[in-house]
């Protein structure tokens, strides 16, 4: 009995401590756990901010069934890096009013962060950012993908992303004709 009581008290104190913790634990679709700063998570993700405010954060790992461990690791990595970098004033304002603020160019560390990712990891991260309502991360990742397309011919774009051409020669010629000016050089 004594032992049981002590255990219960310990449980209570642990719970109180959990509530005061400054990190949240996130669980990927394949069951891996990641810790992320509560402040950064709330600031960067509208979805996590809602969960933290609404008290639906699970101490044993909040289930994020849509996000694989590799993508979640990148999300957490991004949040931690973001917390460590000194965000510029413009960046803070863009994360607040993300719908109206114009896109701000990625900062140096953000550029490096997305540059090291494989295509698949990058696409997974786009989806994760979208799912978690991380406007800035979505901006940075989508910007990176668009940079990979910019200035390239259709063939080059297909090659970069390993996309199979599903047009016939005739169809291609037809849509080229629609906007023929774009294929001439200045």
């Amino acid at each position: 009995m004594e032992v049981d009581k002590g255990k219960g008290e310990a449980e209570e104190t642990r719970k109180v401590a959990e509530a005061d913790r400054d990190t949240v634990t996130l669980k990927s679709s394949d069951g891996k756990l990641f810790e992320v700063s509560k402040e950064a998570a709330a600031r960067l993700s509208t979805v996590l901010a809602g969960m933290i405010a609404g008290g639906s954060i699970d101490d044993n790992g909040t289930d994020l069934k849509q996000i694989g461990s590799e993508a979640l690791e990148n999300v957490v990595d991004y949040c931690n890096k973001h917390a460590n970098s000194i965000p510029s004033a413009a960046l803070i304002s863009s994360s607040i009013s993300f719908n109206t603020a114009p896109f701000k160019e990625p900062e140096e560390w953000e550029r490096k962060f997305v540059d090291r990712l494989s295509h698949d990891a990058l696409f997974d991260l786009v989806e994760a950012a979208n799912f978690l309502g991380m406007e800035r991360l979505l901006d940075v990742t989508c910007h990176k993908i668009s940079e990979m397309m910019k200035g390239k011919s259709p063939d080059q774009i297909r090659e970069v992303f390993n996309i199979k051409n599903d047009y016939t020669k005739e169809e291609l010629e037809e849509i080229r004709q629609e906007l023929a000016w774009a294929f001439y050089d200045d």
């Binding site: 397309m149 910019k150 849509i175 000016w181």
Partner: protein, 325 residues
């Protein structure tokens, strides 16, 4: 996450693919349309490529003769002339003499009494649908000017004329094409005297920036001569009771996609000292880029990407310049 990506296409959800594509400049978007059918459907369905703002291919053009007795000439390759059967503009018995082309928009021609499309004349048993111009048959006083243009809702026609008091007046119609009715609906009617402050205050004016065409250096001398930053208030000793000179009004166009911005006009006021001022207004907002050396400029105006752009070509230096407001 499972490796469900096939090698056939970029497996991003549509919203996110649209997010990526929406960041591309027009030329890259056109290339992206050719990458995959699904990409094209996303670009087209979400109007990522504002084709209404992009240049169309030039198939041919009409040339109005100086001599009114002559018919406007049509210049095009033989393949185009075979396709566009109405290019001789002789399709109407009701037109007396040769029609004078007053304005054009997206292949439609504004003749004084009607709007015609030479490309579709062969449709429906050679019977050609002509739309009466909204100004047809109206008494409009001296030197009325009529225009045709396209904006978000469709084809617009504008008229500049003098009202009963000989003051400049402007009217704008929208062509209602719903249910095949083809009728003109009057959208705006305003007196230009009331809407243009004739004392050029700077209250509404925005600075214009000058940008040179790529690869061409602006001559500093030319730049110094004009005041771009500030619409100058001109000292006018004789401007005839503040009435604008009627002959100086020209129509610039309609805003290509903004609904509440039907009209853009340019307006020149020739002042005795020989300075030419350029005015632009939308509704009652006025902006003017300042003065320009007299007799030095010929101008071509156009609207690019929704902005008013005024290109100036200096005769003396052959330097092309573009102003944006």
């Amino acid at each position: 996450m499972d490796r469900r990506r096939s090698t056939a296409e970029l497996r991003l959800p549509d919203d996110m693919l649209a997010n990526v594509l929406g960041r591309l400049p027009p030329r890259s978007l056109v290339a992206s349309r050719c990458v995959h059918k699904h990409w094209r459907s996303i670009i087209d369905a979400r109007h990522l490529l504002r084709t209404d703002l992009l240049p169309l291919r030039l198939d041919g053009f009409f040339c109005n003769p100086l001599d009114l007795e002559c018919c406007p000439s049509f210049f095009a390759r033989p393949s185009t002339t075979r396709r566009i059967t109405g290019c001789r503009l002789d399709f109407s018995d009701t037109l007396k003499g040769y029609p004078d082309i007053i304005d054009h928009c997206n292949g439609l021609l504004l003749l004084w009494e009607s709007v015609v499309n030479p490309a579709t004349i062969a449709l429906s048993n050679d019977k050609y649908q002509m739309i009466k111009s909204p100004t047809a048959g109206a008494k409009l006083g001296e030197y009325p000017l009529s225009y045709l243009g396209k904006s978000e809702k469709g084809v617009y026609s504008a008229l500049l004329h003098r009202d009963a008091d000989s003051l400049p007046h402007c009217r704008v119609w929208l062509l209602n094409e719903r249910c095949g009715q083809m009728e003109w609906v009057l959208k705006t009617e305003m007196s230009l005297v009331d809407n243009i402050p004739l004392h050029f205050t700077n209250k509404y004016s925005k600075p214009w920036s000058v940008s040179c065409k790529k690869g061409e250096a602006c001559e500093q001398e030319e730049l110094d001569e004009w005041d771009f930053d500030d619409g100058s208030v001109f000292e006018t000793k004789d401007n005839k009771g503040n009435r604008p000179y009627w002959c100086g009004m020209v129509f610039l166009g309609f805003h290509p996609y903004k609904r509440d911005c039907l009209l853009l006009c340019t307006f020149f006021q020739i002042i005795k000292s020989g300075i030419l001022s350029f005015e632009y207004f939308k509704g009652s907002r006025v902006g003017h880029p300042g003065c320009m050396g007299n007799g030095k400029l010929i101008s071509i105006h156009s609207m690019l990407d929704g902005e008013v752009v005024r290109k100036q070509l200096s005769r003396s230096s052959k330097v092309g310049m573009v102003w944006n407001i």
